[in-house]
């Protein structure tokens, strides 16, 4: 792929760069214009506006609605000293750790490993089911899990026989939404690990088996080290996805009861739209963006090491 070059140009990037007048560069960049315009207006624009508005008291109602003033770091000070903000940060961490890092990641890896050992029928049927959960729209997934975990839902029907029935959406809402997110997102990790595992040469595993390394040891000392890069990339991607989950939680619990499942995106939504505090809402958005940006940069670093 790297062999694709400017037509007629001799190979070697250095030579090419020097023979290139700036004019040619600009002419060639022309087809990029629509993409650049859209990205500037609808992506860079909002992000810049976010950086500006986070330092103002802009609001739809009340004090900030008439005249917008710069308030410096007030929004951030308010956020970092607010219990509700701290609560949503903790919940976001719990949600991301439980559903992405532990749930989707480990279950996806386990499924990929197990499928390798399964007969074709089992492998295919389980694959279809897990991918089915992934394909259906977010809101439908929310309703499915609302029904499944509700007081008179299927989960309690099963657990009730052991006397464990309770209203999970009220007692452990963050666990409930995490379970739903594991259900919805595991297919991604499963497919990623399937692909990675199929690239390990069979001889390596067989050699380890011959040497007497069985089961767990083979997994730990042979398989996992060989797919280490995939593990990191996968963790990065699913963490980014999980950070921005909104529809699933909103459908299941609306962040409640109270604020017991209010992750950062839901807290941001409530502040900005329900309470009309746009300035404060954008400050939270900026925090979320910054976290996403850090992960994004880490991810790019990882790809470059390749």
């Amino acid at each position: 792929m790297a062999t694709v070059t400017r037509p007629g140009a001799p190979a070697g990037p250095d030579l090419r760069r020097r023979t290139h007048p700036v004019k040619v560069d600009i002419a060639r960049a022309l087809p990029l214009t629509p993409a650049i315009v859209l990205l500037l207006v609808f992506l860079a624009g909002p992000i810049l506006w976010c950086v500006y508005a986070a330092f103002t008291n802009i609001a739809l109602t009340g004090a900030g609605s008439g005249e917008t003033k710069f308030v410096g770091l007030d929004n951030f000070r308010a956020a970092f000293s607010s219990d509700a903000f701290a609560n949503s940060v903790v919940l976001t961490l719990v949600f991301t750790f439980l559903s992405a890092v532990v749930g989707q990641n480990l279950l996806g890896l386990a499924l990929a490993l197990l499928q390798k050992r399964s007969v074709k029928v089992v492998r295919t049927l389980v694959g279809i089911t897990v991918i089915g959960a992934w394909v259906i729209p977010e809101v439908v997934a929310g309703y499915v899990w609302y029904a499944f975990l509700a007081q008179d839902g299927t989960f309690n029907e099963i657990l009730g026989r052991f006397g464990l029935g309770q209203n999970w959406l009220y007692t452990l809402p963050i666990i409930a939404v995490s379970l739903a997110n594991v259900w919805r997102g595991t297919a991604f990790s499963m497919l990623v690990y399937n692909a990675a595992l199929s690239e390990i040469p069979a001889e390596i595993e067989e050699a380890a088996e011959m040497d007497g390394a069985t089961g767990w040891r083979r997994l730990r000392y042979v398989t996992v080290p060989m797919i280490k890069r995939t593990v990191t990339t996968n963790l990065m991607l699913i963490t980014l996805q999980t950070l921005s989950v909104f529809g699933l939680i909103y459908t299941m619990t609306k962040g409640g009861p109270g604020t017991k499942s209010q992750t950062l995106p839901l807290y941001m939504y409530e502040q900005a739209f329900s309470f009309s505090q746009i300035g404060y809402g954008t400050a939270i958005a900026l925090v979320l963006l910054a976290v996403g940006a850090v992960f994004s940069i880490l991810y790019m670093r990882l790809l470059r090491e390749d």
């Binding site: 070059t5 400017r6 037509p7 007629g8 560069d25 087809p31 990029l32 629509p34 993409a35 859209l38 990205l39 609808f42 909002p46 976010c50 386990a110 197990l114 499928q115 390798k116 050992r117 399964s118 089992v122 492998r123 389980v126 694959g127 089911t129 089915g132 394909v135 259906i136 729209p137 809101v139 439908v140 309703y143 499915v144 029904a147 499944f148 299927t154 497919l191 990623v192 692909a195 595992l197 199929s198 990339t233 921005s244 909104f246 529809g247 909103y250 995106p265 941001m268 900005a272 739209f273 746009i278 954008t282 979320l288 963006l289 976290v291 996403g292 940006a293 994004s296 790019m300 790809l303």
Partner: protein, 299 residues
Amino acid sequence: MTTQTPAPLVASGTSSSASGHGRGPRTWVATVLANVVTSVIGLMFLVPLLWVLFAAFNSDAGLKLELPSGSTFGLDNFRAVMTPETTYRPMWNGLVLCVGSAAIAIVVATLAAYPLSRFETRYKRPFLLTILFSTGLPITAIMVPVYGLFVQLNLIDTLGGTIAFMATTALPFSIFLTKNFMDGVPITLEEAAWTDGASSMQTLRYIVLPLMWPGLSVVLIFTFIGMWGNFFVPFVLLLSPDRLPASVSIFTFFGQYGSVQWGQLAAYSVLYTLPVVVLYVVLSRRLGGAFNFGGALKG
């Protein structure tokens, strides 16, 4: 960028199976155990899903998973929701939104991918890095500023504005996928045409595109699926009930009337999910099931 491409990924269904077949009782037990555990996990994924299917055909559905039987089995729920208000208009709105933004995304992404794939220039690397960076940004976070921007530009509650924004959110990923597919088309054919005096846009139109239709249709369907399920963007940017797509209306319709008709909600969920499942099946046939990860891991 191209050097960072991971090796081609293999479909999940084709990975080498049960490696240790028939090598002593120990492997045999392990194989049976693996099959049982895999099936149990599969069953746990299946049970929540079954509720929607069963409840949709059960006129007396509750929240519990139960087989519709005798008098309660039927299409009553579907009949009840298949009205202009509940189903047809939101589905149509969703279609307009998704087709519109997927079309814009694919045209713009193809144009952008061409110079990125064909020429070696000084802006290429920074541009690709910016694109890669923006694929990682949580779109959820910019919904508040986007709302503010849309109020300023008078774009709130317009399909056009929402389409443009949704197309933009899909762009970074679409550009990556399209560029990678385009890299697969050999440049020699174009060089011949260039020698004959064809412009680069002409070669794109008459030589490159016809050779990469399969790739482009994958990008198109993939973008469509992503948008069809998108809830937050239209939820924030559209207000009038008659403009809402299915992803939002399914949420609002059933919250309004106090007691929820679970059977109808399930029937509507089935109708709303159907197009995505059909597209997914078409797509995975075409590319052997692993279509999205080639691009996902690259970008």
